[in-house]
């Protein structure tokens, strides 16, 4: 009995089947790539050509159009991983651990970019690349958590077992992130009063908000695209692994 002759299950189980996932995402990848390119073109056009300079920061304000989307994704990707971890532990969804594995390096990259662009922005406006400010510190800790999860993924040979264990770590990390954020804020206000961050800048007018939202959309689409491509690659890689294992088994039996 092949997959095609079985009665079609409901959408959730269909989503759970890696083969079905490969089928429907095949038609999604290219349109999504197109949408990402369009969103980036529009967003960059707004960001570089059609938005005003800040009256204090001048052209430096344009770093924001890259920095804020990356900072948003650094947290959103962990949200995706959290949902994937729930999927692994609660439903044993076969795609959930694939999603977790695919998202972790993406999250690490977006978090690194957020810190990097933040440093580039901080140097001319605050006069320093790094400040032990609450938000920067908790982003750094988030990066360390991402890197730990990636290291854990790489340490396991058995990917199915790894999926469940990484899911537990992801959940514990998710519960801890608010505590870390809170404690770091507490620590920072204790040790140094706000002195550098008084310049809040003007409230956001529409001329800045439009390019910002466009860039956030563009980066989010980019994440969705990379996530789907990485999940497809991971499924295909596992399939190739199991095929080569089968081949080795048959070769050994001869």
């Amino acid at each position: 009995m092949s997959v095609d002759t079985v009665k079609q299950p409901n959408w959730f189980s269909r989503l759970a089947h890696p083969g079905q996932f490969l089928n429907w995402t095949r038609h999604v990848v290219w349109p999504l790539a197109g949408a990402t390119v369009v969103a980036f073109v529009v967003g960059l056009w707004f960001a570089f050509l059609n938005s005003p300079e800040d009256y204090q920061m001048g052209d430096m304000v344009r770093v924001m159009y890259v920095h804020v989307p990356n900072a948003w994704l650094s947290q959103a990707v962990y949200g995706v991983m959290f949902c994937a971890a729930l999927g692994t532990l609660v439903w044993r969804h076969p795609l959930a651990d694939v999603a977790n594995k695919a998202a972790a390096p993406l999250g690490a990259v977006f978090t690194t970019l957020a810190l990097y662009t933040g440093a580039l922005w901080g140097r001319p406006t605050w006069g320093t690349f790094w400040e032990w400010d609450g938000r920067m510190t908790s982003t750094l800790v988030l990066l360390l958590i991402y890197l730990g999860i990636i290291a854990l993924w790489r340490a396991f040979d058995d990917q199915l077992k790894a999926g469940r264990i990484v899911a537990i770590v992801t959940l514990v990390g998710a519960l801890n992130i608010p505590i870390i954020k809170f404690s770091v804020d507490w620590w920072n206000t204790l040790h140094q009063p706000a002195s550098v961050f008084t310049a809040e800048g003007p409230r956001m007018p529409a001329s800045i908000l439009t390019p910002l939202l466009a860039m956030m959309l563009a980066f989010t689409l980019l994440f969705a695209l990379l996530q789907i491509v990485r999940m497809r690659t991971e499924i295909l890689r596992r399939r190739a692994d199991s095929l080569s294992r089968q081949a080795a088994l048959q070769g050994g039996a001869k």
Partner: protein, 217 residues
Amino acid sequence: MKAFQALISRDLKLAFRAGGEAMTLVLFFIMVGVIVPFAIGPDRPQLTRLAPGIVWIAAFLSMLLGLDRLFRSDDEDGSLVLLRHSVLPLEAVVAAKVIAHWLVTALPLLFATPVLALLLSMSWEQWGRTVLALLIGTPALVSFGALGAAVTVGLRRGGLIAPVLILPLCIPIMIFGVGMLDPMAGGGATLFLIALSLVVTAFSPLAAALALRAAGE
């Protein structure tokens, strides 16, 4: 309850009869404290200022060093499989092992703190606060350590992964633990540290047991 106590006393006997690991850990704890003045200079006022942080870092490193033994040896000789099928739920087994591990690795460090206090020229009052902070904070460190050890128990190369995983999670304990020693901070840090320690100690056996089950499947 009887099984719970039996498990604790078993772990204690194992720790004290074989290897003398507790003493080695205390030695390491003191050595970290001894080595720091060589790195930052023997300036006594500066050492006094940095002493609580140094003691915390020494305690932190000692905990990380000891945690690989928590489940590893039981996994290797097969007793972890037996424990999974014992009358105790696995969560209680983990809790018992956490208590035993704390008694073996954290409590001796507290008795060694006067040596560090002397070497780092801490005042008596500062020393008292540090011991209190360590007393409150170390159960949380051990609990996070148990989680890290449970997650990496199936890995042959897990020794380095566990510290990397739990260090970021331990940052709040460090912050409030050292914050407790700051006379400007008031009682807030103490309460936060107590709350954090209670929550972590209560929940980590659940997560660690889940990880042990997943690893044993």
